[in-house]
Structures are given as structure tokens and as C-alpha cells.
């Protein structure tokens, strides 16, 4: 069994009386895609927010590459190598696509407390950004103002930003949300290629994509993990089938 990259132990969070994360244990190993599925409101995004540092858990620990990152800020975790995408498209709408991604690359290219040289003329940054855009299939859209892109293209900018930051693991929060069928399929291909390089924790509703990409699947219901295993094991797990409202999806994707 390969090395554990990311490990959650007893992670818990409640908003008032509403428990959104209920003693979750979860790990992500080198070279794998671990999919997290579950009905709407199960607490999947909340979990990603806690891993990426946007939300603070009430209890539990998060270890990344053997290091406890529970107390680190969002920015510090990104520096440590946790890259993420957002379920609700979160890009810089006024920047060009290239600038969006170049900014992510800038984080790995020495200090950003530089005040005089023009950042948009730094060729190494632009090259790195262009490379990331090429990998997600947006190579020809670099000069467009990001806010003017079509919806599906914005989703890809999300992904390009995440990989341009040279992450050591990716947290992908419904990368296919709102995409058409053809777009989803093409993104699935892209993610299959990326998987070799980046361990992925994937939240996705598109079951076809999940079962093509995932090496392991965990089912989250009401903040707690009710089933976990290989795609086949989970598909056969009665608890997962009973709990997960998308029963048909699971069947359909088989």
C-alpha cells in the first residue's frame, strides 16, 4: 500500500445544533483518486473547506505529508501543497485567464513582495501559466478576461489555477458541477491524466466520472462516513445504497 499523503482523524464540525462533520476519518494516498460522494447537504464541501483551511474544525486533526496542518491558515496550507478548486466558480473575473493562472504560479516563484517590475511580463510565470492552461485544454483562451468566459471554461480555469500552484495534492470540489455531458467527459479525461501526478480528493455528483476516476470511494451522509472502499465494494454496499439518495446513479454507472 502506498504512502498516505493526507489524513483526517476524528474531524468534527457543527454549526450550532447542526452537525456537518461527524468524526470523519479519511485518508488519501500517493497516486490515487479518492472520491467523496453523498447526497446534497451531506457536508462534502464543508469537509473540503476544513481541509483547505477556509473553515476551522471544532475537533480532530488534519495531517498532510506527515505534518499536522490543523492550525495552519488557508494560505499556509496552500504553500504546504494543498491545492483546491471551488464548487462555486471562484476565479478572478477582472484578470485575463493567463493572469489568473500566472498569479497561482507566482506563489511558487520566489517572493511576491516585489514592487517594481511588471508581473505580467515575467516570462517564466506566463510560461508556467500557459502550460497549466494547455493541460486543461484552455491554451487558446489565455488572453480573454476571465469573467467573459463561458461557464464550462471558467470551471477549467479553476483547475488550471489549482495545478499552476504546483500542489502536492488536489482537493477538487465538484469540478464538473453544471457542465454539459461532452464537457464532463473531456474534463474526466484531463483528470485521468492529472491523476498520475497529483493525489486527488474528489467530490463529484457525476457518477460516471466518479467510477472512471476513483480508486477508492467514500460515502458521506449527514456529516459521517457510512461506507468506504473500492468503487465495486461501495457499489455493492447496502448501507451506501440505502443512505445515498443517488442509488439509481450508482446503479446506472455500473
Amino acid at each position: 500500500m502506498s504512502e498516505v499523503v493526507l489524513e483526517l482523524k476524528g474531524l468534527s464540525k457543527a454549526f450550532g445544533a447542526l452537525v456537518v462533520t461527524d468524526r470523519v476519518d479519511l485518508d488519501l494516498r500517493r497516486g490515487e483518486c479518492h472520491a467523496l460522494i453523498g447526497p446534497n447537504g451531506a457536508g462534502k464541501s464543508t469537509l473540503i473547506h476544513q481541509i483547505s483551511g477556509l473553515l476551522k474544525p471544532d475537533a480532530g486533526r488534519i495531517a498532510f505529508e506527515g505534518r499536522d496542518v490543523t492550525g495552519l491558515s488557508q494560505a499556509e496550507r496552500a504553500v504546504a501543497g494543498l491545492g483546491r478548486s471551488f464548487q462555486i466558480t471562484s476565479i478572478l473575473p477582472e484578470f485575463t485567464v493567463l493572469d489568473n493562472v500566472a498569479l497561482a504560479a507566482q506563489m511558487r516563484a520566489g517572493s511576491s513582495m516585489r514592487f517594481f517590475a511588471r508581473a505580467d511580463r515575467e516570462e517564466p510565470l506566463n510560461r508556467a501559466a500557459q502550460e497549466a492552461l494547455n493541460r486543461v485544454g484552455l491554451g487558446d483562451r489565455a488572453g480573454i478576461v476571465a469573467g467573459e468566459l463561458a461557464y464550462g471554461e471558467k470551471r477549467l480555469v479553476e483547475l488550471a489555477i489549482a495545478i499552476a500552484g504546483k500542489p502536492r495534492a488536489l482537493l477538487l470540489d465538484e469540478p464538473m458541477a453544471g457542465m454539459g455531458r461532452a464537457e464532463s467527459e473531456s474534463l474526466t479525461e484531463t483528470l485521468l491524466e492529472l491523476k498520475a501526478q497529483y493525489p486527488m480528493l474528489l467530490i463529484e455528483h457525476d457518477m460516471e466520472a466518479v467510477f472512471r476516476l476513483a480508486d477508492r470511494v467514500s460515502v458521506l451522509v449527514a456529516g459521517a462516513i457510512v461506507a468506504s472502499g473500492t468503487p465495486d465494494e461501495v457499489r455493492a454496499d447496502p448501507k451506501a445504497r440505502a443512505a445515498y439518495l443517488g442509488d439509481d446513479h450508482i446503479e446506472g454507472a455500473a
Partner: protein, 325 residues
């Protein structure tokens, strides 16, 4: 469709802002000559005041326009710079090479301390907490009994400049203020386009995304806050030098309000918006008040019209007149 786009990102006609700036600076450079023919000292004094305010407005635009931090206490930094100069002159320190570092240090430290607190908030809370710090400075300066308290402090001698009397001549002050304005205009533009500026501008659009990329948004904003505060304090030193008088009213909230109005009026986060806004503000004030004592009856509705119909301020209006982008 570029109305909401970042002006730095779309360079449809990158020359036009430079032409406008070139014209403005040419006019400002010519004013000392013009004043020989018409207007005299009144004209140069007016231009010096306008240029000093433009320096402050440009620094505020770095915060407001590019950084998304609407400070309602920015004039406090002008007052800190002016008082640093005024107090040192009163205490017998005449050398600008000593005064300026003290003013910069004072403003920088105050910006660092107050900014660290203010930046825990955002939006309207940020506006109000910067107001609170501005008011604290205002009242603190008014309590300095040995330095004139509320009545202010008259400066009987201007500062020396590296041992010369350069800053004691109107022309010396004019050229210095002009140079600082030109430097500030160029510097802030460079900062905005730099790596630092790119992070700052990105954080205005989407701080969560910028944090998730690995940048501590707080650090970049605080740095911008300190830079803007220092620039405003340098303008304050120039103000004290020019006016030979400092008073707490330099830091009154009304002055901070004027500054916000200048930046919005000119057009936020544009190459020349703050510059145009400040110059226009002073020019309109002077010309209208020359026509009628009740010039505010015209200026007030003018501001309303600009707010209602000129999105993007005067610079945006100019762009649209030149042709749709």
C-alpha cells in the same frame, strides 16, 4: 463589455492614459511660467495645493481602487506628516533629511499598528474603523497644547534641504511638489503592475481565492496600507512646508471624505483617475467660487450627476467620449 474589467488587464489603447497624463503634467509644469503672465502667486499656490492633494489621492487609490480598502481616515496620515514636520521645525530641527525620515517612520508605524487592527474587518466596518482611527489622531493633535492645540501651529521658517534654502522659495517648493507628484504617479503605477500589486488587485476581486492560492491576503493589504500611509505623510510634510501652518483640521474626517470623493470622481483604479479627480476637485472649487460665493449649489448637484451618470468617474467619461471601448 470591458466596463467591469480590470483596467490593468485590458490594454485596449494603452497610449491614451499616457497622453492625458502627459498633458496634465505639461500644464502643471507650465504653471510657474503662466503665473508670470496671469494669476501670480495665487495660481502657483493653487497648483501646489492641488498637486499635494493629488499625491494623497493617488495613495488612497492604491488602497481603495486597487486594494478594495475604502479608508475614511486617510487624511490622518497627511496630518501626521504635517505635524512631524511642524513639530520638528518648532523644536529647531530644520533639515528635511531628518524631518522626512521621522515623518515616514511615524506614519509607517501608525499605519502598521492601526492597519493591523482595521484589516481584521472589511467592507463598511473597515470604512468605520478607519474613521475611528482618523478621529483619534485628529483629537490627539488637537490636544497638543505646546503645539497650538486646536488652533494649529504657525511655522516661522521653512525646512532646509541638505543645508540649502531650496524649500524656502516658492519655486523650490513648486518644483519639489511637482517632482514628488510625478514620482508618486509613476511609482504607484509600477506597484500596481508588480507582483505585489497583482496579489493586491486579485485580493480585491476574490480574497478567498487568493488565500487558497497561498497568499496571506492580510500581509499584502497591510503592506499596501503602510505604503499609502507613508505617501500621504510625505504629502503632509510638503503641505506644512508650503502652507507654513499646520492644524488638526488637516486630519478631520471631512478631509478624508474629500479624498474619497476625489478618487471616485476621477475614476478608481485607473491610471489617471485619482490625479484627474484631485485636480478637477480643486479647479472646480476655485473657478466656481470665483464666479459665485455659493459655488456649492453648483458643485453639489454636479457630484450627484457624476455619481448617477458617469460610472467610472471622469476618466471613464473621457473614455466613452473618445469612443466606445
Amino acid at each position: 463589455m470591458t466596463s467591469q474589467a480590470d483596467p490593468q488587464a485590458t490594454t485596449a489603447s494603452p497610449r491614451a492614459p499616457l497622453v492625458i497624463a502627459g498633458l496634465l503634467f505639461a500644464v502643471l509644469a507650465a504653471i510657474p511660467l503662466l503665473s508670470e503672465l496671469w494669476g501670480g502667486a495665487w495660481l502657483t499656490s493653487l497648483a501646489v495645493r492641488a498637486m499635494i492633494l493629488a499625491i494623497v489621492a493617488i495613495s488612497l487609490d492604491l488602497l481603495m481602487g486597487h486594494g478594495g480598502m475604502v479608508s475614511f481616515g486617510h487624511s490622518a496620515f497627511v496630518a501626521i506628516g504635517a505635524y512631524a514636520c511642524g513639530i520638528m521645525l518648532t523644536e529647531g530641527v530644520y533639515e528635511m533629511a531628518l524631518i522626512l525620515p521621522v515623518a515616514i517612520a511615524a506614519a509607517g508605524l501608525f499605519a502598521l499598528a492601526s492597519g493591523a487592527i482595521c484589516l481584521r474587518t472589511s467592507g463598511v466596518s473597515f470604512i468605520m474603523i478607519t474613521l475611528a482611527f482618523g478621529q483619534m489622531v485628529y483629537f490627539a493633535l488637537g490636544s497638543l497644547a505646546q503645539y497650538g492645540a486646536d488652533d494649529g501651529l504657525t511655522l516661522w521658517s521653512g525646512p532646509d534641504f541638505l543645508g540649502t534654502r531650496w524649500l524656502n522659495s516658492d519655486m523650490g517648493v513648486y518644483i519639489t511638489v511637482f517632482a514628488v507628484l510625478l514620482g508618486t504617479w509613476a511609482l504607484v503605477h509600477r506597484i500596481v503592475q508588480s507582483r505585489f500589486g497583482r496579489v493586491l488587485r486579485a485580493a480585491r476581486q476574490n480574497p478567498t481565492r487568493v488565500a487558497s492560492m497561498g497568499y496571506s491576503v492580510f500581509r499584502y493589504r497591510l503592506t499596501a496600507y503602510v505604503i499609502a500611509g507613508i505617501i500621504a505623510a510625505i504629502a503632509g510634510v510638503l503641505w506644512a512646508t508650503h502652507a507654513a501652518f499646520v492644524s488638526p483640521s488637516l486630519g478631520a474626517w471631512q478631509r478624508s471624505g474629500d479624498l474619497i470623493v476625489m478618487v471616485v470622481l476621477g475614476g478608481m483604479a485607473t491610471r489617471n483617475g485619482a490625479l484627474v479627480g484631485a485636480l478637477f476637485f480643486i479647479l472646480i472649487e476655485e473657478t466656481l467660487s470665483a464666479i459665485t460665493h455659493d459655488w456649492r449649489l453648483i458643485f453639489g448637484p454636479l457630484l450627484v450627476l457624476i455619481a448617477l451618470y458617469a460610472r467610472g468617474g471622469l476618466v471613464g467619461l473621457l473614455d466613452r467620449i473618445r469612443g466606445p471601448a
